[in-house]
Symmetry: C2
Subunit: 381 residues, 2 copies
């Protein structure tokens, strides 16, 4: 199926003739990048929108997920008549390099040994993920993406796209993200990694050789992270101190409170669809992310001369990627006379708000996409 | 050594003739309560101050800790000439029931089986801990405590003292605490418990029988909790994104960032001094804590008719026990015309601020203690 078909899954084999260099100094190739497309590419290939997914997301941005059977993770924002309108745009969403839904990652086979990479897989950075996406965009014959859009770690990729390939991006929508990972966020990631590494089923990352998986450690990692995705108010509103299936406390260690039961479910269901080593690699990539550090310590330098149109969005109760992080980016772009709009959405749903039905958020993305399309001279197909 | 000696460690055997009833419906006795005393009791036994420790604290409030060799955990606040002045007051600090520093807890021997209790130990609540402290105060022949003082879970005990035994307390100083544990705090505790339970060395709580300990799980639990004790700003100021002993990233899973190294150290050093089952029991006691629920859902009812003088203190950057929790308590006491002062200390050091050298905090405690002593007719010995 060609790239102009709608709602389809593909795998592209890239970096075949020449291995792709990585920030760590090693190189990798050939690599597989699994992606989905939605809508139709127009004749001059000017209507492509790349969606970048978050830490535990994947390419199934719309449509039924093949593993979980659930709806796509961004159907609130992407689809026919939605803010990112697949009647008008050609939407591409690729599983990141290092991921575990079809793209090359630590669960893939190392062609040189014929066994699973495990922790022999080279460490990849956000910039490496974007390099792989760039190879995909080249492969699809797209000179310039109309837009790159993503939240959380997806937003990091959006920023990296704009910084690495400013001439290949017309508009960028980094949502609920930051130009560098904070000490507190590194700390939470480190706890998750240590939970995985402490699981004896991890086997120094070589669990595939032992035909097992560190599911308990990965579940604990997911539980920790999940708390950071919600606001205190969201947890309070959703659960408070309500008891689970009981009139009174058990006076034991069962899940007495609904919030405990919910967290345990988040942990257990996650391990069915995610690879523990991928979790280690991807969290590490986020921790390393620091755009200013790559530009002499001055964030504004990263955007100097850029003609990319930015639409930054944050959520008021997001304490993982608080508004101040987006404001820092907006100021840096303004400092070099870039083109940037910035909105904080008032919500008590925390970081997860970017994945939820938030009407004001949807309206802002819709308005920005329409305005940018007009500026780009994109006519309805 | 008698209770009027200064700077001494004791163990009291309590509930000997009659087992102590617990909230869970079971009873426990005899119980050991390990405690330290500092300063001298006056002739009419009216100058006793009970210090209540937090989740991972113990009775070594001042003086060298016998296991870690470090200074007492509250030497900033307690000692000769300090706000809680041992030249003037007789300070008592007891290891909580359920603890692991000499008081009866899950690591103690079950007299009925001759083996370690483990998870056969009954679940204890904050009110049970306070019941045991009350037996100790009876044992010491003290009719009324001049003051009960504590931070975090220690503050919960202070509140419980004032509610359970209002006639036995003249003044109460609940610091950085809450009248009920929030959904977010329960969630963080649940992650810590799951980390311990996921450790195969936990052996369903019977690790003593296997001559092992779930140190990896306990270390992960401690790391998670430790993040919540600091503010985002404190982590940023203390560590930022600074690298550990390196000029550049390792592109691996070593502790590249100082914050990772710090957290790992916190986890590893904690397991040397703490019992994993105690951690399960004590976190559960905090989760269950809800004073309003015990009083028809109305917090103010808990304080109706109380003559206890309260001094509530919170810290502006504490997100584990935010200021709103203390304000809720102050309002409840005010609603029944109680005697309460409330101060929020401006600091960026997070929850841990109550353990640190914070001059304004020390001055407020000092002023309150002096004022209360005057009202109580306490003359310098």
């Amino acid at each position: 199926m060609g790239p102009d078909a709608g709602g389809a899954s593909h795998i592209a084999r890239l970096a075949v003739d020449e291995a792709m260099p990585l920030d760590c100094g090693r190189s990798l190739g050939p690599i597989d990048i699994a992606y989905t497309t939605h809508g139709r590419m127009n004749a001059d290939r000017s209507n492509a929108v790349l969606i970048c997914h978050a830490l535990t997301g994947d390419q199934h941005v719309v449509g039924t997920h093949p593993v979980t059977g659930r709806a796509g993770w961004w159907e609130t924002l992407v689809g026919p008549g939605r803010p990112i309108d697949t009647d008008r745009m050609f939407v591409i969403c690729a599983n990141i390099l290092g991921g575990c839904m079809g793209s090359t990652g630590p669960a893939s086979i190392n062609p040189q040994t014929g066994t699973v990479w495990g922790t022999d897989f080279p460490l990849v950075t956000i910039a490496d993920m974007v390099r792989a996406q760039k190879l995909l965009i080249d492969h699809l014959g797209i000179d310039r993406l109309f837009a790159v859009v993503g939240g959380s770690m997806g937003g990091m990729q959006v920023l990296q796209w704009a910084v690495s390939y400013p001439d290949r991006v017309f508009a960028a929508v980094p949502i609920a993200t930051a130009a560098r990972h904070s000490a507190q966020n590194i700390a939470f990631h480190e706890v998750g990694r240590q939970a995985i590494i402490a699981d004896p089923q991890w086997h120094q990352g070589r669990y595939a050789d032992h035909d097992t998986r560190p599911t308990k450690g990965l579940a604990v990692a997911r539980m920790t992270a999940h708390i950071t995705y919600l606001s205190e108010m969201a947890l309070h509103t959703k659960f408070g101190r309500r008891l689970q299936d009981r009139q009174r406390m058990s006076y034991g260690f069962e899940a007495d409170f609904q919030v405990e039961s919910y967290l345990r479910h988040q942990g257990i269901s996650f391990v069915d669809r995610f690879d523990a080593n991928s979790y280690l690699y991807i969290t590490r990539a986020m921790d390393y992310f620091d755009i200013a550090a790559d530009h002499g310590g001055v964030l504004a330098n990263a955007f100097r001369g850029s003609r990319v149109r930015f639409c930054l969005i944050s959520f008021s109760s997001d304490w993982l990627f608080p508004t101040v992080e987006s404001r820092t980016i907006a100021r840096a772009i303004n400092a070099v006379a870039g083109n940037v709009s910035f909105t904080e959405i008032d919500t008590d749903r925390g970081h997860d708000a970017f994945l939820l039905d938030e009407p004001v958020f949807a309206r802002i993305v819709s308005g920005f996409m329409d305005g940018a399309a007009a500026h780009a001279g994109l006519v309805r197909p």
